[in-house]
């Protein structure tokens, strides 16, 4: 396989908790939310890499670290082999942002309500100095709208976001990310706020654009079903770490980690014949806070297979158990 386009190595992001002034004087140690706690993965060109997990697992933080909306506490990010965590100059940062873009979850919030669609799409062009004249930029904006099938563009450019449907807004958001012709796009739950019928439409559009423009996606989602449909690769995150990673279909059909199993068991399916069966969910308790990470395997307090003296003491490592299929568990194959 070719060189990966994006590599993430041991990425960490800790957010300091605000402590009181007095606590600081008393010398109480500073406490951190371990949002991302040592994450590594490679993404290959024109593939879709899904980052799956529940809210608070650090998947969105990882996405924001990659687009440099946040600076990592530790670890490296490489784009096409180049370390981008050390970027300091404005020019380099702009060049990076042109290559790496993001699509947000909520199309209602991600467009400035006071901007017309034209202004929304003109903003990236103005920032990056693309298109000398307004006419040139207009041309590019019309093309971008046509690309995301918001047609005819003339009809939409002068509208405000609230005059568009949810699906149309998300298309505009996609157009804004893709108008710069990026190589890599972080899609942070791009369809989870949309209706089912529109969800499919947006996923199809993103798929089409992947082929047409050669973009690579990091698809952040909590929805295993769309991940299977859309992604080639999948990594499951729990409390800031990747607990399982591999080809999307392998992970879903043959999960190695107990957490992945629990997640998969919980996914609702449109099969009404099971409506009176109470589902078995192989998990207990609730997600602990990311401030106090449990020792050993961070999943052990919720794991129904956890072994005393092993799982609560020793932190497991992400190991390859099948070809390209990794898991972070002491007990793979033993339950």
């Amino acid at each position: 396989m070719a060189e990966p386009i994006l590599q993430v190595k041991n990425l960490k992001k800790y957010f300091p908790l605000k402590r009181g002034f007095l606590a600081g004087l008393r010398g109480e140690p500073e406490r951190y939310v371990h949002a991302v706690d040592g994450v590594s993965f490679d993404i290959y060109k024109q593939q879709v890499f899904a980052l799956v997990g529940e809210s608070g697992c650090g998947k969105s933080t990882t996405g924001r670290l990659i687009v440099k909306l946040l600076e990592p506490t530790d670890g490296k990010i490489y784009l096409e082999g180049q370390d981008v965590t050390t970027i300091t100059t404005k020019e380099e940062l702009l060049a990076y942002k042109r290559k790496v873009q993001i699509i947000f979850q909520d199309p209602f919030a991600s467009l400035n309500p006071r901007f017309r669609i034209f202004d929304v799409l003109e903003e990236p062009l103005l920032i990056h100095g693309i298109g000398e004249t307004r006419a040139e930029r207009e041309e590019l904006i019309y093309k971008a709208l046509e690309m995301v099938k918001v047609t005819p563009p003339e009809e939409y450019v002068s509208r405000f976001p609230h005059q568009l449907s949810g699906g149309q807004r998300q298309r505009v958001a996609i157009a804004r990310a893709l108008i710069l012709d990026p190589e890599f796009v972080v899609a942070d739950e791009p369809v989870s706020m949309l209706d089912v019928s529109i969800r499919a439409e947006i996923l199809e559009l993103m798929k089409e654009l992947k082929e047409r423009m050669g973009v690579t996606y990091l698809y952040i989602t909590h929805d295993m079903s769309t991940a299977r449909y859309f992604a080639d690769w999948m990594a499951v995150m729990y409390l800031g770490r990747i607990v399982e990673m591999g080809p999307a279909k392998r992970v879903i059909d043959n999960p190695l980690h107990p957490y992945t199993r629990a997640l998969l068991a919980a996914v609702p399916e449109p099969k009404p014949e099971r409506r009176n069966v109470i589902k078995e969910l192989p998990i207990k308790g609730e997600v602990p806070s990311a401030v106090n990470i449990p020792p050993g395997c961070r999943f052990h307090p919720r794991c129904i297979y956890a072994q005393k003296g092993l799982c609560d003491v020793k932190q497991p490592e992400l190991k390859e158990y099948e070809h390209n299929h990794f898991a972070e568990c002491h007990l793979v194959g033993k339950f």
């Binding site: 687009v67 909306l69 940062l93 702009l94 942002k97 042109r98 873009q101 993001i102 947000f104 979850q105 909520d106 919030a109 991600s110 467009l111 400035n112 006071r114 901007f115 017309r116 903003e123 990236p124 920032i127 990056h128 958001a173 804004r176 710069l180």
Partner: protein, 511 residues
């Protein structure tokens, strides 16, 4: 923001705003205020602020006179101010050898129970170079016929000089009083026994009066104006007793004539352009006068200029500064934010009025308009800054701001394209709502006599009234109009501000 967008948002704003009854009322009243403020020099005269400070400009006006419309509510009507210029007079020019005599006559309809307080003649200009050439003035009052009164003509002044820029205040002259006494004598009202009539002249009549103590005291307290416009006889034509005529005169209503004879050497030219004769009222105009004779209505009209200027200048500047500081604080975050916030709170805890008084005293005890605006801005930006900061913090966390930053937008772009436009609606409402505060502060300082006297402000009018003991003397027209004017401007801006807030603030709009 492009022009079309601006037009569009103004149009949409107007769609919402026109349903706000309070806002429309406020807007109409504001337009009225602005028209008054801008129109003041044209409606009156541009030199009013200069005249305001000089007492002589108001010499033809009564002092502490109530509004004329008070007559509708009292049993005794009191004379209203009446002024005549040369165009209202009949002029007769007589050349008499080396002298020229101008005979000016005018008619005055006296229909009041209380006659005018004075007759003032002023504004005569001549090119006389030595004192001997200065115009000589004679004056006589022609009364309406009265049964039993032989002589309708009453000389007021037999001779007096009128240099340029001087005025004759008839009621104040001994000459006048003596003429009035003489005339009373002629008509048999004033009796001087044991003296042959041929011995008595207007110039010495006072001497004979002095011999009678009772009479003398009566004459000393006499209001010559009331006597000369008063009745001398009863309905049968019999002379009234002297006490009645002098101490409790009854006015003789009817058409009076005033004849002014001006004598100058023929080589001297006289200019009547500014010549004026005033029958000084016992009441004055729309809102009366203060103790210097300045019309209250004029002060109220000119006061709008300062009030609006100070209110708007302070409100706009302090809101803009507040927003700038608030947004900067929010955007910088961390220690800079902490420091700015603590400083803001420090400023908020300062007692504003004492600080303003101290500052004014430090700057010479009389601050001018610019200094005043500056001080009020210093103590006026904090509230806006706090709100602007919290709004900016909220907007900063919006996904669309995150999206702009992901696109590589600079700080300036985020602040000026995404944050500030969202704050503008708040800014407009905030400006409108902080105008009354600024006007009140100005009024407070003016009332304490700490602002420059070159300004006509409502606060200073209240200060004048206070010094005049207006409340004790019952001069309500000196206190209530400026007070109401201040509240009225406050009300106008509150109406506007509240409606703007309702229209522009999406949270309130939904409710």
């Amino acid at each position: 923001m492009r022009w079309v967008d601006f037009k569009d948002s103004v149009r949409r704003f107007w769609e919402d705003f026109k349903h706000q009854k309070a806002g429309i009322t406020g807007l109409i009243l504001l337009i009225l205020l602005v028209v008054l403020a801008i129109g003041a020099p044209y409606m009156t005269s541009p030199d009013v602020p200069v005249k305001w400070q000089t007492g002589v400009a108001w010499i033809t006006n009564p002092k502490n006179a109530p509004p004329s419309w008070e007559n509708y509510f009292t049993s005794q009507t009191r004379a209203v101010q009446a002024e005549y210029t040369i165009t209202n007079m009949h002029v007769q020019t007589i050349k008499n050898g080396t002298y020229t005599i101008y005979k000016l006559s005018l008619t005055y309809n006296m229909k009041y129970d209380v006659p005018p307080a004075d007759i003032v003649v002023m504004g005569l200009h001549s090119n006389a170079t030595n004192p001997k050439q200065v115009p000589q003035v004679q004056m006589a009052l022609v009364r309406p016929p009265e049964k039993g009164v032989k002589d309708n003509r009453l000389n007021l002044i037999s001779q007096i000089t009128l240099p340029n820029n001087n005025a004759i205040q008839v009621a104040h002259l001994d000459q006048t009083r003596n003429h009035v006494l003489y005339w009373l004598y002629l008509n048999g009202v004033l009796k001087i026994p044991n003296v042959p009539p041929s011995m008595i002249t207007p110039d010495n009549i006072n001497m004979f009066v002095m011999t009678n103590t009772t009479l003398y005291q009566m004459v000393a307290a006499m209001d010559s104006m009331r006597v000369m416009f008063g009745r001398l006889t009863d309905s049968n034509g019999n002379p009234l007793p002297i006490e009645k005529v002098i101490s409790t005169p009854q006015s003789l209503k009817g058409t009076y004539g005033l004849v002014i004879t001006i004598t100058v050497p023929s080589n001297v030219k006289v200019d009547f352009t500014n010549f004026k004769v005033a029958f000084v009222g016992r009441t004055y105009g729309l809102l009366g006068t203060d103790q210097y004779g300045r019309p209250i209505a004029l002060g109220i009209l000119w006061g709008t200029r300062v009030a609006l200027a100070i209110g708007l200048a302070v409100a706009i500047t302090s809101v803009l500064i507040g927003i700038l500081i608030g947004v900067t604080s929010a955007y910088l975050g961390g220690w800079a934010d902490e420091a700015i916030q603590r400083f803001t709170e420090f400023m908020m805890t300062l007692p504003v009025l004492p600080m303003l008084i101290l500052l004014s005293l430090y700057f010479g005890g009389r601050v001018n308009l610019t200094q005043l605006v500056f001080f009020l801005v210093i103590f006026g930006w904090m509230g806006t800054s706090k709100v602007a900061r919290s709004m900016a913090l909220q907007i900063k966390e919006q996904t669309y701001v995150e999206a702009a930053r992901a696109l590589g937008a600079s700080t300036g772009r985020v602040v000026f394209k995404h944050i500030v436009p969202q704050l503008l609606p708040y800014a407009f409402a905030s400006i409108a709502l902080s105008v009354p505060g600024a006007i009140l502060s100005e009024a407070g300082l003016s009332f304490l006599g700490l602002t420059s006297q070159n300004l006509i402000t409502w606060g200073q009018m209240l200060n004048t009234a206070h010094q005049n003991g207006a409340t004790i003397n019952g001069y309500w027209w000196q206190v209530i109009p400026p007070g109401l004017a201040i509240s009225f401007v406050g009300l106008v801006f509150v109406l506007l501000g509240v409606s703007l807030d309702t229209v522009l603030n999406p949270r309130l709009k939904r409710a």
